[in-house]
Homo-oligomer: 606 residues x 2
């Protein structure tokens, strides 16, 4: 970061380190596991220390093994790492990328920036960009198809497989039985997730590892239906509110609570510098919708957009390290009239922009006509496609209509083209869909897009609850996650109403984290159930602090408990204020078990 302070900056030029949340979770340590194929990799987990169980009849203490939890929070929760937002995170992937010897540093497009008035007031964190050497393809899919297990692949395998890697125990008989019960809609999740399994899934296009070579700071993650369901949080300022500083904290804040990727949807001033700060400080993949920045460059006039300007924007963002791009290449001219009778028209921002462009010029969408040109850019940096659903339904009335499914057909065609270039692809999905029509979305997407990962926004299962759309959509998200969606884009309580604040972001992330976990349980992912079991055991044994610490949000769980019973002694109590001491079923059950044991003992002695 430049040490020269800009004068008269309209925003805080340097994020204050104190504004970033860095504390570890209660009773939790950062623990790293080493790779075996690639010993240099260190996969982070949160290790939660538990108190011992007290046998209810004898009173004997029994130790409980620590529980490891998938950890998206990055170095921010590691007290051994010094955080300096002005310099960004350590580039842990740099050596992995360099050792492949298929990339080169080059000048890049920084000079472009001076064209945009607001940008120069914020110092940039831009590093010298890297790209594929001429004729090389640096995508994870390309490596996978050549049979190469990259460090990124082993990293995600260890991450997904934490149960076997750490707990050194397989599934219990009961877990295995539960896994087999009910429908899993054709998911094929092995009991042990190996690096080779990861490679196969990436090679087949059923999973992606978004990992731009210009984003060496990330701890890689995998998005595919045979892995843990991931969630995305959207951040970004709109012209109405918020600053760079807030956006970096929103990034850290959302990954703290479990966001697996973050999309920067900024549309206001300082769009380039904001993104620099976000990417350099992000331990998770970053996605963007490049058309937003392109539109800023033409002062909001959609009809003035051109391929050349859009192309430059893609390269600019690829050089910054954006890991996936939402590209609305399926909004074709012929689909636009299909939205005319809809209750809510086109509700995707990118979709509506492209529709306006197409209609104004009466020409085919340039993202579609230049799709192979875009593939060339993607494979030079390993940016993944997130093929945008510009025509997704924005209301129950518009669900599963001809416009939506027409676009999906085109996304299937584009997936094939991207795969011919060995470029990673996922497909965006709806939107607003009533429960009985959700499954059709998944079935069609899997068949039309040949198993490419689905990435859905909800879907919202009713329109009548603004203020609670994290829940209306959390229902749809859990269900479609079970049906096979690989990543769920969060919705906050402010959806349809305003820009989310810090509390809204947290509520949205936690809601989607629990929806994703519910889906993981239903799919039978081997790394899911043990956390429920550990928490329920703690609950039954009145180990209150353990129950809080194993939960998705220890702070809130503890605060709710303490609202009525704040005394320290209440954390040892065999009841809470919900039922009181005489009516606690768990406490009575312990009496019942004791009684049963005594009766058995008497019977045995007779």
């Amino acid at each position: 970061m430049s040490t020269t302070k800009p004068t008269e900056s309209p925003i805080h030029a340097e994020p204050r380190p104190t504004a970033i949340t860095t504390a570890p979770f209660p009773n939790s340590n950062k623990r790293y596991l080493q790779g075996s194929i690639h010993p240099q990799i260190r996969v982070p987990f949160r290790e939660v220390t538990l108190s011992p169980s007290k046998a209810f009849s004898t009173g004997k203490l029994e130790e409980n093994a620590p529980v490891l939890i998938y950890d998206t929070s990055g170095p921010y929760t590691d007290p051994d790492v010094a955080i300096d937002v002005a310099h960004g995170l350590a580039p842990i992937r740099r050596q992995w990328i360099e050792s492949r010897q298929d990339t080169e540093l080059y000048e890049g497009q920084n000079t472009l920036l001076s064209a945009h008035s607001a940008e120069h007031v914020v110092p940039s964190l831009q590093r010298q960009p890297r790209r594929a050497k001429a004729g090389k393809n640096v995508s994870q899919m390309h490596y996978a198809r050549q049979g190469i297990i990259t460090p990124e692949m082993e990293f995600v395998a260890i991450r997904e497989n934490m149960r076997n890697e750490v707990l050194k125990e397989g599934l219990s008989e009961l877990e295995r039985k539960h896994r087999l019960q009910g429908n899993n809609f054709g998911a094929a999740i092995p009991e042990e997730i190996t690096p080779e399994f990861v490679r196969q899934e990436v090679a087949a296009g059923r999973a992606i590892i978004p990992a731009n070579i210009n984003h060496p700071e990330i701890e890689p993650t995998i998005i595919g239906r045979n892995f843990l369901v991931k969630i995305n949080a959207n951040i970004g300022n709109s012209i109405v509110t918020s600053s760079i500083e807030e956006e970096v904290e929103k990034l850290v804040w959302s990954t703290r609570w479990g966001a697996d990727t973050v999309m920067d949807l900024s549309t206001g001033a300082n769009i380039h510098a904001t993104r620099d700060y976000i990417v350099r400080n992000s331990p998770v993949p970053i996605g963007t919708v490049p058309i937003y920045q392109a539109l800023e460059k033409v002062n909001g006039k959609a009809e003035d957009l051109t391929w050349a300007l859009y192309r430059d924007t893609l390269i600019e963002q690829a050089e910054q390290g954006v890991d996936y791009f939402t590209i609305h290449a399926g909004v074709l001219l012929r689909y636009i009239p299909l939205t005319a009778k809809r209750v809510t028209g086109i509700v995707s921002r990118g979709g509506s922009i492209m529709a306006k462009w197409c209609l104004a010029h009466h020409q085919e969408n340039f993202l579609y006509t230049h799709f192979e040109d875009i593939c060339e850019i993607m494979k030079a940096y390993d940016v993944s496609f997130s093929l945008g659903d510009g025509l997704r339904p924005g209301s129950i009335a518009d669900a599963n209509d001809a416009a939506q499914f027409g676009e999906l057909e085109t996304l299937g065609e584009l997936t094939e083209i991207a795969w011919r270039h060995d470029v990673q692809v996922m497909i965006e999905g709806p939107g607003h869909v009533p429960m009985h029509m959700i499954q059709e979305n998944m079935t069609k997407q899997l068949s039309i897009c040949n198993g490419a990962p689905f990435y859905t926004l909800g879907p919202l299962t009713t329109d009548i609850a603004p203020g609670y759309d994290h829940i209306t959509s959390g229902i749809g998200a859990a269900m479609i996650g079970w049906f096979g969606t690989a990543m769920l884009c969060y919705v906050t309580p402010k959806e349809h109403l305003g820009l989310p604040n810090r509390d809204d972001v947290k509520t949205g992330v936690i809601t989607y984290k629990l929806a994703a976990h519910a889906a993981d349980l239903a799919k039978g992912h081997p790394s899911a159930r043990y956390r429920d079991d550990a928490l329920s055991k703690a609950r039954f044994e009145f180990r209150w602090e353990d129950q809080f610490n194993l939960s998705l949000d220890p702070e809130t769980a503890k605060a709710y408990h303490d609202e009525t019973l704040p005394a320290d002694g209440a954390k040892e109590a065999q009841f809470c204020s919900m039922c009181g001491p005489k009516f606690c079923s768990m406490s009575i059950t312990q009496d019942v078990r004791e009684l049963a044991e005594q009766q058995e003992a008497v019977a045995a002695s007779v």
Copy 2:
């Protein structure tokens, strides 16, 4: 109510009228529809007045018809009704009941009360009780089986059928298409719900109308899979906290937001008088778990419970007007050992109490052995059974196990017995169940209990989110509602942690209301979709106030919007702070439509 003020009362003896929420919703009027078979009945709705639409190209204003909404809030939101908590609501059903000439007033058990020390400090609202004349059965099921359409049946038919009754329009072609799409799991909901259809469903046992003859204040509601999914809110003090006054306001508060029934789960002091206030002031059916009060009478010692004491408690509560009783008659001695290896044992309070009693005496559950005696009481007052699932799973690990399904078999057997007495029955269900195991619960319940309505608590789809269990369970609730559950028992954010406060109750109710509505959409109930469509149309047309007022929680929707754009002018704006003015897709869509119209006009003129 006695006018003598008690001295040194430990709680507020008379609820202060000011503490009760009575304001109508914004832009909403109470509207009553008259019966045709029974012209004396007046079925209440909330009528929401909308502003006109502005045609986007011509600017011409078009009126929007008012929207009618199912209204559980009772007279509290009718400004024409004077509310006096100290006297209770008007007994609108009294004449219906009296005109059947099969009941009589009698002395009742009030004298029993003096036995319980805390009771006398609060004046009772008890009215003289009514019971069936000797040899008569006054249950709605009994009437239905004799081919009688009662005022209660016509009332619920009008309530369920509001679209046809009021809007005078059938389903649109699109709605009809959506209804047919996807699976509805065998629901058979007609496009028009007639009083005769209601009668048939009640006669068959597929639906119940909980309506104690001693609760003439209720506006009847129907619980069955071929009707709107209903929700229940639990209130009630535990020994740790809360007063009568708060409980009445919690009742009013939860029905205001949409609770269709309320369970009074009080376990503390003043249990009888609290219930008097709740029943006399409740426009919705009230449920209780009589074993809680019985246990208070034996000072919390489960082993001291007797049939005689329990029987008196049932009669005491039936005389007060409780509409349904949760009775844990399926917790049989032989099922208790099946819970020994569970992670969380027995988590139903009533279930654990009965288990303790059974084990202490090594005798069969007296609720099971005296089940026919209980039926005699139920039919003398028309109290419905809610057969308790005392062995429901309290964790994902314990879902769908032998204890749970063993008890369900017994509940099926008891359903048959109750039906032989023409007593109304619903069946309580779990609990904690992962998504892929939910459907098995519904399928088994329908088959074992011959289509008796299912009434489930959630189910919670994961254990790892204490503090957010309204959502973990809202997911399961929406799904099982779609699969066929008739009523959903709400869960608040405080579940497992403490007694819910006012905000928690509201959050729980709204969450369950949206889950129930999502299920209604998926089942294709004809009175569901029009509200989504009206709200989405308002949203697309930037009629912000209409969007708020049509939502489940107008206050919160408006407050969230106003957080960033509080000015009055923002309610006319074609954007919100989420995307800002340049990036609002709905605004751009209107440009797109205008552009398309112009192009068509040009093409036509050439």
